[in-house]
């Protein structure tokens, strides 16, 4: 089962439709079972019984998750594959010691590979879709796989299968999510 984590600060069905439902659709299209929970209600049992975890994005300006670091401390312990999208990436980076900086990137943005990994091997990614107002530095325990002119946009933990994409692969480059789920 895939655990999909909704990262919004304020519960709203419209935000769920825009940022969570597209991820659920990809999982469903691959025949994967999933459980969707808000980050504040994720339990150790949820993590224990999940095969992989995807942390979703949020609307521009909703960065409440960045002040809930303690609720994501499980990221330090988990050894299962995790993919953080936008808000999810920012949270992963923050938990692993990165610092945040204001940086607004909106829409189709040029990007280039800076590292290698099975998740992106053979993919041709020249653009990514961005929707964020905060960027993160590269945490010490991570390597950078892809960047835009504003810094790291796809990162991976050096020893664990924990990935963070500051962009939205569900909009452009959906293969990243498909590969993550299929691997």
């Amino acid at each position: 089962m895939i655990l999909i984590i909704d990262m919004y600060g304020k519960k709203d069905a419209l935000r769920y439709m825009e940022f969570v439902k597209p991820i659920e659709r990809i999982a469903k299209s691959l025949g994967k079972q999933f459980l969707t929970k808000h980050f504040s209600s994720v339990t150790f049992d949820d993590l224990e019984y999940s095969e992989k975890v995807i942390m979703c994005g949020t609307p521009l300006g909703d960065t409440a998750y960045l002040s809930h670091e303690l609720e994501f401390s499980w990221l330090q312990m988990i050894d299962k594959p995790v993919l953080g999208v936008c808000a999810g990436m920012q949270t992963i980076a923050k938990v692993f010691g990165a610092h945040e900086e204001k940086c607004t990137e909106l829409g189709k943005t040029e990007a280039q590979f800076t590292g290698k990994d099975a998740l992106i091997d053979g993919l041709e990614i020249k653009h990514v879709y961005c929707l964020h107002s905060v960027k993160m530095s590269l945490p010490e325990e991570f390597i950078e796989l892809l960047k835009t002119q504003n810094g790291p946009h796809l990162i991976r933990h050096k020893t664990k299968p924990i990935y963070g994409a500051l962009f939205h692969p569900e909009v452009m480059n959906r293969e990243i999510i498909e590969r993550f789920l299929a691997e």
Partner: protein, 231 residues
């Protein structure tokens, strides 16, 4: 309280329907009326009917004219949203499904104005989307076509189980976006559960040339719904 970007087409109207069902209030509809029929951002055929449709929904309308030029359209939208702020809105609702061009530009305008942007139809499966619209009692007609193999006969047809199936077939055979997100076709909602009155078209004309066409609505009026329809 949200302002809904509104063209009278199926997607912007359905987004309003979803938002209201989700508990949001729509303070006003916002329509940018392009003078250029080839507008980059805004739906065009019969957009002059938005006033009637706003009356049918009993939701106020903020209307702004635009020359429909690539970047100036965004300024026109920005001015319309500034005006919409008088209705106490904190966010903007759109019917964008997959157009990165449209969605990112609207996101930017909202960001600059300190408004949240909501896209509840974002990345929907197009076929499932049109089928859901039909199931929810939306009466939608085709008012514009601009891609092969759509022809004059599509103008004025209703979106129903049959046309939805045909769109699905065209999607597979010709790569048409079943929801018309690539501008392959345009629609008008003549009735739906949001309307207190329905739009009755007295006369219209199909104008089709060089592979593209519009249904020009000449005369129409809002008429009361029967008790059954009003349910």
């Amino acid at each position: 309280m949200l302002a809904a970007l509104f063209s009278g087409g199926k997607d912007s109207t359905y987004a309003v329907y979803i938002a209201i069902r989700a508990g949001h209030k729509i303070g006003c509809l916002v329509s940018v009326i392009p003078e250029n029929k080839e507008s980059y951002l805004f739906h065009t055929p019969n957009i002059s009917l938005v006033g009637k449709l706003s009356e049918a929904m009993e939701i106020p309308l903020v209307k702004m004219s635009s020359y429909g030029e690539r970047d100036k359209e965004l300024n026109d939208l920005k001015n319309a949203l500034k005006e919409a702020k008088a209705f106490g809105i904190t966010g903007v609702l759109t019917g964008a499904i997959s157009s990165v061009y449209q969605a990112s530009r609207i996101q930017r305008v909202c960001f600059e104005l300190g408004l949240e942007c909501f896209n509840p139809l974002w990345l929907r499966n197009e076929q499932e989307h049109i089928e859901e619209i039909i199931r929810n009692d939306f009466h939608v007609i085709f008012t514009g076509v601009s891609a092969h193999p759509f022809d004059k006969s599509w103008l004025g047809r209703s979106l129903n189980a049959l046309t939805a199936r045909e769109l699905g077939e065209l999607s597979r055979s010709h790569g048409i976006n079943a929801a018309g997100e690539g501008g392959e076709y345009e629609t008008l909602v003549v009735d739906c559960p949001l309307y207190k009155k329905r739009l009755f078209i007295h006369s219209s004309e199909r104008v089709f040339k060089e592979g593209a066409g519009v249904l020009e609505i000449k005369e129409c009026e809002l008429i009361p719904k029967s008790r059954e329809e009003a349910k």
